[in-house]
Amino acid sequence: MDFELRYTPEQEAFRKEVRAFLEANIPPELEEPVDPANLSYEQYLMRRELGRKLGERGWLFPTFPKEYGGGGLPMELAVIIEEELDRYGLSLPPYYNTGGTLGAPCILVWGTEEQKRYFLPPILKGEVRVWQLLTEPGAGSDLASVKTLAVRDGDHYIINGQKTFVGSLHGADWMWTIVCTDPNGRRHENLSWFMIPADLPGISMTPLDLLTAGGEGGASPGAKFTVYFDNVRVPAFNLVGGENNGWKVATTHLELEHGGAGSIRRNRIVDRLIEYCKTTCRNGQPLSKDPDIRDLLVECYIDAEIGRLFNLRNYWLRHTRRPRTYEGPQASLHRKVSGLRIAEAIVKALGPYALTNDPAWDPSGGHLEVFHRASIVATHPGGTIEIQKVIMARRIGIGRAVREEAGTVV
């Protein structure tokens, strides 16, 4: 066993190459705004530009097959790209793109060869940004009950319905969308996925005013919308994974969204908190010397370490193609519940300072205040705390006659 990511001389050479590339291609203005709701259009465009440049080299989706525009790289090199981006507070992709990170693996597993050749290169090369459209006003946890309807009409489908809590600031090119293709069909046997160009006639949207819009992991969306489909004609070619086979496709999508992708990143907020408490003096001594605050900091550290290891393990499981059962939702569950615990610990440790982003009085530069709001909201996207537990139980083999398998991922 070896927890250390070790690097051969070739890998270290690769790191140098990545580092030099990033140094040359990440302008300082690209830095993440503290509150993702403040990401400007210019910053967004810079991120897209960086994405395209990474994509040209196959570094945007490094482990995806080369033939579709991925990097064809082994996990060890993908880790290096992630590590180097992490130094800038960025991840892959460096902008909100859940329809890409979750849709592309679905297309790879479930798409026809033709569809892979058509849809994957633009995603993997960073030419398009894609949202994921699952949730509807009447279908959140119960995703299988979506009502947005796609009806076949010659070479097209006509789509009507409404999705909510979806999207991000500054628009999308495509929408990776689950719909019902047989209103009279049996549950789980009446769904299909479409890749829908966002500029088709009949698509409109309104913004939601949220406590904060983050929490799906990866780059934060900054905003969420309700999207309306009014007689939208979508080519039949854009139905991925077979008509009424959408639930199987969804297992791949959800497995990844529920934490199965893993990650090598650390919990930055706990690092920030510890730094804050070491450098901020109250009553003549650093906060970190106060015995109560020390205890709270250690609790937060423990939560962060457990989370880091769950994610590290999942990353390893995914990239070494080992079998998984409950590990994905376990990491997701831990992130959500520890987020609430850490937020409360920060309030206890720092009092009202935990809640202010006042420029004159907030040494964290707004990070703690944003984290507080995000910790509440982040318990919902990608499946609530309760749903993560439901899935874990099924995967462990309790609560259902047949033990549920983990979704197929790549």
């Binding site: 005013d209 409360e344 809640l355 009085w361 507080h372 309760e386």
Partner: protein
């Protein structure tokens, strides 16, 4: 024993509830939440006309002389809103400080205007080294002839942006005993050198208040200079349970929202209230509600009947603050996505539960005091 409200208290409660339903429906509260002060002149005027700004002020000083329990009954309904603004800071906490620390003349001068809503008080107590014990007040007032000069920063001051007058607590004497040497200054907010700035963040009505060489006459000191602590402490003990009652109202509203949502929201072909994991959250909320309610009302009863109440007040404040905070978290779990949509209204409570968590001392502060009161 009788844990029920009296008939007249029931009437007061239903009047307050009706007022909130009619005058402060959700949309009004959402609009008020976007203001700096959390209140509008119209709503403030109506609170004054109902007599609710004078509830905790004796009749001889222009108030209703209603007592703490009646006050709490009304504040519970305001908390259900939740209606923000300076009502508690001014008409309860501020008024109690004047009552407990001021001279007879000062009470007669200040309190009728507070009861009428014409003057609005805010207590400028906490400082950058945040805390609610006497040792946390470090700002000093310098004597200059017959005047005092106030210099310093007060931080996280509740409702100063709405206030006409600040009750600034500062040291006029020194010595090793932190409870000695404290004075309360009544300062008109428009005095030269006073500046008030609302602080941004996930909180409502908290302000930075700066005193830059503010000159006030000796008569601005409430009572005898240097002796304010015991009066302040009594005022805190009397005001805290009213703040708790406000939180009880908040928890109750969040409980009702969660119950009704769990009965109407259908997922997997059934109301989500059927899921035991959802039930667990709602049961947590109702446990917080009843714990906060009964610790609060027992503390008030002890205060009103002249029993030793200190331990009970600290108990109530620790329980209610923590309860409100966690009840809101649980309500967010019950509601999932929709609960984070600002217009839905849950976020108003969540923000209040955070803003008020530290007001008059956070749970840790009160647990320490409780341990002390229990002679542990």
């Amino acid at each position: 024993m009788d844990l029920a409200l009296t008939e007249s208290q029931e009437m007061l409660k239903s009047a307050a509830r009706t007022f909130m339903e009619r005058e402060c429906p959700r949309q009004v509260l959402l609009d008020l939440d976007r203001t700096e002060t959390g209140i509008s002149p119209e709503v403030w005027g109506r609170l004054a006309r109902m007599g609710w700004l004078g509830l905790a002020i004796p009749a001889e000083y222009g108030g209703e002389g209603a007592g703490l329990l009646d006050t709490a009954v009304v504040y519970e309904q305001l908390g259900r809103g939740p209606l923000g603004g300076p009502h508690f800071s001014s008409a309860v906490l501020g008024a109690q400080v004047v009552l407990e620390c001021g001279t007879e003349d000062q009470r007669r001068e200040v309190l009728p205007r507070v009861a009428a809503g014409e003057d609005i008080l805010a207590l400028a107590y906490t400082e950058p080294d945040y805390g609610w014990g006497p040792e946390s007040v470090k700002m000093t007032a310098r004597r200059d002839g017959t005047d005092y000069i106030l210099d310093g920063v007060k931080l996280f001051v509740h409702d100063a942006a709405a206030a006409t007058h600040l009750l600034c607590v500062a040291r006029t004497g020194d010595g090793s005993d932190p409870t000695a040497g404290l004075s309360v200054f009544l300062v008109d907010r428009s005095e030269p050198g006073v500046s008030v700035r609302i602080m941004s963040g996930f909180m409502a009505g908290l302000c930075e208040v700066r005193f830059d060489g503010v000159r006030v006459p000796a008569g601005a000191v409430l009572g005898e200079p240097g002796t304010a602590w015991s009066g302040l402490n009594r005022a805190f003990l009397k005001a805290a349970p009213v703040l708790c009652a406000y939180k009880v109202g908040g928890i109750e509203a969040v409980f009702e929202m969660s119950v009704s949502y769990s009965q109407t929201r259908v997922q997997f072909g059934q109301p989500i209230g059927r899921f035991q994991r959802v039930q667990d959250h709602i049961i947590d909320i109702v446990n917080h509600l009843d714990a906060a309610r009964w610790t609060t009302y027992e503390a008030i009863w002890k205060l009103e009947t002249g029993r030793p109440a200190e331990a009970s007040v600290h108990l109530a404040k620790a329980v209610a603050s923590e309860g409100f905070y966690r009840a809101c978290n649980s309500a967010h779990e019950v509601h999932a996505g929709i609960g984070s949509v600002r217009n839905y209204g849950l976020v108003l409570y969540t923000k209040a539960s955070r803003s008020l968590y530290n007001y008059l001392g956070d749970p840790k502060f009160h647990k320490r005091r409780l341990a002390h009161a229990l002679e542990l």
